[in-house]
Amino acid sequence: MAKMKFLCDAERCIECNGCVTACKNENEVPWGVNRRRVITLGDGEVGEKSISVACMHCTDAPCSAVCPVDCFYTTDDGIVLHDKDLCIGCGYCFYACPFGAPQYPSEQAFGVRGKMDKCTFCAGGPVDDNSVAEYDKYGANRVSQGKLPLCAEMCSTKALLAGDGDMVADIYRERILKRGDRPQTWGWEKAYGSAV
């Protein structure tokens, strides 16, 4: 079975934020919620590097481990999803996540945050595939239609790769060989363990 992974090629990312826009548009996420963001290190300096960050769909997901209501689950494709009907908006997944993926729609008095929202790898949620309820709560379910996350599909420089981890790794390995470069698979070890 495929294990879905994200990989952002820092040599290719040009900080266009196309992935951020694609995600917001495809999933109609509420204001203030950004499932994906682009971070630039050394912005404006020679050798600056940009990376697109979202939920990495970790192998041993910390969000899932600390959730008090146990609302996370990992699909057969290795995608980490959560059930918004169970989520109580406690914020623990945000404390635990290394990538800052969990987002909350509001911050009100007495620490009320609303239900957590995060990248679903465009795979919807635990309700019927491609139903209105699924779209309202979780956004698009492109995976069920045989498509990949829109952020990666729309990436103009093909910096952001999404899909089966082996295939992503093969594409990246080929690039590295052509460049005579060394791999910069940032976040992979953190997300998928040291074995990858």
Partner: protein
């Protein structure tokens, strides 16, 4: 022998050759011995310097130079190391810490919360409850020794009792809802199912966050109004030395509050008010809104650890407090329900305080005062 040493030394250090051959002819043996000693030390010094001087390259200037070389040669490695260590950059998506690539504190928090805090914390609570049950089975209720006369003295005023029960009600609500957050997944989901528990957990977190601030006012009130009773003194030392009279039938002297009650008070203030209530205000974002600290993940992880550890300690102590105040000690609960305690109870548990208030007997009758005291009073006057 000394001559052969001179010859050997001379062959090594040619500079001394002339002098030593000269001395072997002319100077006395004493003088020669002194010179050999001096030469021996010189040799030692030369060897020592030969070893020590090259090692000065390890000193600071050289080290900085080495680091410079590493920096220049391995820029990319350093770049990604900074990312792994939680460095931040620019992001056009605005929000708290959106510029941070990887936050490493979360893993540590996860391991502590899911590991030692819930494991040892859970056992601490179980042991506290079992300990009280065990103590009750062994020791039973600590009875009032003397015959109950029915005369009573005022212990707690109405406003003090209100403050106590207001805070106590908040405490019980917060303890149940808070423990549900930590142990619910383990204990309650198997019983209630995920949907049922999610409903309860959602209620728990909202009630917990809303009740917490009001509860904190109660604890603060306790500090302000009761701190005057709670300074430790020599009487308390003797009280502790005799184990508070909990074993055996000895009743050490005590003022209005005994040493144990004072310890409980300071646990409530230091662990409860400062650590637990304080971290609670940080967790619901109130401290950050007041400009104290921030709402970064590092702060939240730290505050949550303080909150959880402090709260478990507090609840563990509370189990003991509730036991001693209710079924553990005859006649104690009515002090906080009716505000009055029987003279005999006061004499037995708080003799020094009784001496102060014995002139102000407030009640003369009412054998049973609604607190489940099992001793029917035999006196009528």
């Amino acid at each position: 022998m000394s001559v052969s040493l001179v010859k050997w030394t001379a062959s090594v250090q040619g500079i001394y050759k002339r002098e030593t051959t000269m001395s072997s002819k002319t100077v006395t043996a004493d003088k020669a011995r002194r010179r050999f000693r001096a030469m021996g030390w010189s040799m030692l010094l030369i060897f020592a310097c030969a070893i020590i001087l090259p090692t000065t390259s390890y000193l600071i200037p050289t080290e900085t130079a080495n680091a410079q070389v590493v920096d220049d040669q391995n820029q990319r490695s350093n770049f990604w190391r900074a990312v792994r260590e939680g460095g931040s950059g620019y992001s056009s998506v605005k929000g708290p810490e959106t510029g941070v690539f990887i936050d490493n504190g979360g893993q540590n928090w996860r391991q502590l919360r899911n590991g030692p805090i819930s494991t040892y914390g859970g056992w601490a609570l179980i042991i506290a409850v079992l300990g009280c049950i065990g103590f009750f089975l062994v020791r039973g209720k600590i009875k009032i020794g003397a015959e109950i006369s029915g005369r009573k003295v005022q212990r707690w005023e109405t406003w003090e009792r209100f403050m106590h029960w207001f805070t106590a009600a908040g405490f019980v609500i917060l303890a149940i809802t808070g423990l549900s957050m930590l142990f619910g997944r383990l204990v309650l989901i198997p019983i209630m199912g995920p949907e049922g528990f999610a409903l309860w957990a959602n209620m728990s977190i909202n009630v917990h966050n809303a009740v917490g601030p009001f509860f904190s006012i109660g604890v603060l009130g306790m500090f302000l109004f009761w701190v005057k009773h709670n300074f430790f003194n020599a009487v308390d030392l003797k009280w502790f030395a005799s184990g508070g009279g909990i074993i055996g039938n000895a009743h050490p002297s005590a003022g209005k509050l005994n040493g144990g009650e004072k310890v409980w008070f300071w646990v409530v203030i230091l662990v409860g008010l400062i650590a637990v209530c304080g971290s609670g205000f940080a967790l619901i974002g109130w401290l950050a809104q007041l400009g104290i600290g921030d709402e970064t993940r590092a702060t939240m992880q730290f505050m949550h650890k303080v909150h959880a550890i402090g709260a478990i300690l507090w609840i563990t102590m509370f189990v003991g407090h509730a036991y001693i105040g209710t079924i553990g000690t005859e006649g104690a609960l009515e002090g906080m329900t009716t505000g009055q305690v029987s003279e005999e109870w006061a004499k037995q548990h708080h003799d020094l305080w009784y001496d102060e208030v014995k002139g102000t007997v407030v009640g003369q009758d009412k054998p049973a005062t609604g607190s489940g005291v099992s001793h029917p009073s035999t006196s009528t006057t």
